[in-house]
């Protein structure tokens, strides 16, 4: 068994009267590629944000890289790619180079300064993702696929050990989506980066992830995708179409 880097124990989260996560427990091992799936309103993004220490818990604990969530400060070990453009301001005059530099802040202390060597790291990461020529462009001038790569570069530039993606393929066409998923599979297999990827596409994720975390406010399934794909396993949880898609995509 690999090292446990995320330990979620009996976590519940409530927004006002609404309990959005109810007593969920699971563990993520180093090197896992986990597809986090579930229907609309199942609490996928909420759970991911709780793992990233962005939300307070009603009860339970989350331990990240051996640190309790509330006291977590190894921020340079995590990279986050939010849902495309969800928070981006289109008139913000930020160049691609400046945006990617933000990924390096986690490892810095006040006063934070972006040095020459940081700039080299930024350019190296942009080069690896094939978007170095965009470094002086404004983020809002780019296409959806290019923006996604820039935000991926921001998540990767600090060389994190854990990457959390929130529905990264929403705005991508099928070809860009395939490229994007192949890229993150390479990161997982060659660099050993642990990945949690939120998706609606339970079928597609079967091609890439080794584990599936399926929630619907409560934990429905957590384990190997191969085991999940057997019709008997969890068959009563899902619509037939879901099982069908996962089964074929996985093959």
């Amino acid at each position: 068994m690999n090292e446990i880097i995320i330990d979620v124990k009996n976590v519940s989260i409530r927004f006002g009267q609404n309990k959005v996560i109810d007593d969920i427990s699971f563990q993520v091992e180093r090197g896992d590629f986990i597809g986090l799936a579930g229907p609309n309103g199942a609490g996928k993004t909420t759970l991911a944000k709780a793992i990233l220490c962005l939300l307070p818990l009603e009860s339970g604990t989350i331990t990240l890289f051996g640190q309790h969530g509330a006291r977590f400060n190894y921020f340079s070990k995590i990279g986050y790619l939010p849902q495309k453009n969800s928070n981006l301001n289109s008139i913000f005059p930020a160049s691609v180079e400046e945006v990617v530099s933000l990924g390096l802040l986690a490892a810095k202390k006040i006063p934070k300064v972006i040095t020459k060597s940081d700039q080299s790291k930024v350019r190296k990461t942009l080069g690896e993702l094939g978007i170095l020529k965009l470094k002086n462009k404004m983020l809002s001038e780019l296409s959806g696929g290019q923006q996604q790569r820039v935000l991926l570069a921001r998540a990767l530039v600090s060389e994190p050990e854990l990457l959390v993606f929130d529905e990264p393929s929403t705005a991508l066409d099928p070809a860009s989506r395939n490229n994007f998923f192949r890229l993150i599979r390479t990161l997982n297999r060659k660099k050993g980066i642990t990945i949690i990827l939120i998706t609606h596409d339970t079928g597609y994720i079967g091609n890439y992830a080794n584990k599936l975390l399926y929630i619907d406010r409560r934990l429905v399934y957590f384990g190997e995708i191969s085991a999940f794909c057997k019709p008997k396993k969890g068959g009563h949880f899902f619509e037939k179409t879901d099982n069908h898609i996962i089964w074929h995509q996985h093959n």
Partner: protein
């Protein structure tokens, strides 16, 4: 031969006028304090505009009206009262919009109207300082005192140093607050810092352009720079230069044309905005 001689004569008269103008100590003080305040306003303004908090300057300037009235009422130096009161008001705006299920603009509206109402009540109750108080409505940087020059420079330097120290955190929290949190940026602290720095900047600007026009100093240089910049650092520099030139030109024109200084500074800023706006429309 007559025309060039007349032109040269005219230019030398203008040069003499400008040299005389620059020798007045009240002009030197206005240029000095105005330059610092202009740069600070433009820097803070860029963060505020991009955070969609532009009107916080307007709200806090109205609070400063009430706070100045309070200072005058009790016989204190108005700015010494205004600084803590406006800082508390900025914190209050931040907290009621976070905790009380009130949108930011509504929170600004509440604080702003209470500030004005307080000022009017105090002015009415005192019967003695109405002229002093109402001079703050439109400001007059040409009447700035030595104490106010020193206060402007010191407070501006404090704001600039804090912006330099927290530059990347301010940038990150303004660009994408949620992402900033995942990189360990203390976004709550950054929000409070911006509110406090805005409070200081507003108080400094009140003397220059007056309560009614402060928000123009915060908003106009920023939106002008946003017309042309594709990089945040360029936007900051451009915004600072536009603000600085507007203040220097505004003071100069107001002196020679005998027009109100605060209003001229705002009109210069607006002129730069129009120029960049049309430049962008034509060349983009």
């Amino acid at each position: 031969m007559k025309k060039p001689i007349i032109i040269l004569f005219g230019i030398s008269i203008i040069n003499m006028e400008i040299i005389n103008f620059l020798q007045y100590s009240f002009v030197q003080k206005a240029f000095l304090a105005g330059s610092f305040v202009a740069v600070v306003c433009s820097i803070l303004g860029l963060f505020l505009v991009l955070r969609k908090m532009s009107l916080i300057g307007d709200g806090l300037s109205h609070v400063s009206f009430g706070a100045i009235a309070l200072g005058l009422f009790f016989g204190f130096y108005p700015f010494y009262v205004a600084i803590p009161v406006v800082m508390i008001a900025s914190f209050f705006i931040l907290k009621i919009s976070e905790k009380a299920k009130i949108y930011g603009d509504a929170a600004i509206g509440i604080v702003s109207s209470v500030g004005i109402a307080g000022g009017v009540i105090l002015a009415s109750a005192s019967n003695g300082f109405n002229v002093d108080l109402f001079s703050y409505l439109f400001g007059n940087i040409l009447a700035i005192s030595n104490t106010e020059v020193i206060l402007s420079i010191v407070l501006s330097l404090i704001v600039m140093i804090l912006v330099y120290v927290f530059y990347w955190d301010l940038f990150s929290a303004t660009f994408d607050e949620e992402y900033a949190k995942t990189t360990g940026v203390k976004t709550n602290f950054i929000n409070i810092l911006i509110a406090f720095l805005t409070a200081i900047t507003v108080i400094l600007s009140v003397k220059m352009v007056g309560v009614m026009l402060v928000s123009a100093l915060l908003i106009l240089p920023a939106v002008t720079a946003l017309q042309l910049s594709k990089k945040f650092q360029v936007a900051l520099l451009m915004s600072s230069f536009i603000s600085l030139f507007s203040v220097l030109l505004g003071i100069t024109f107001s002196f020679f044309l005998d027009l109100p200084t605060g209003a001229m500074i705002v009109m210069m800023n607006f002129l730069f905005f129009c120029l960049t706006f049309f430049y962008r429309k034509v060349f983009d």
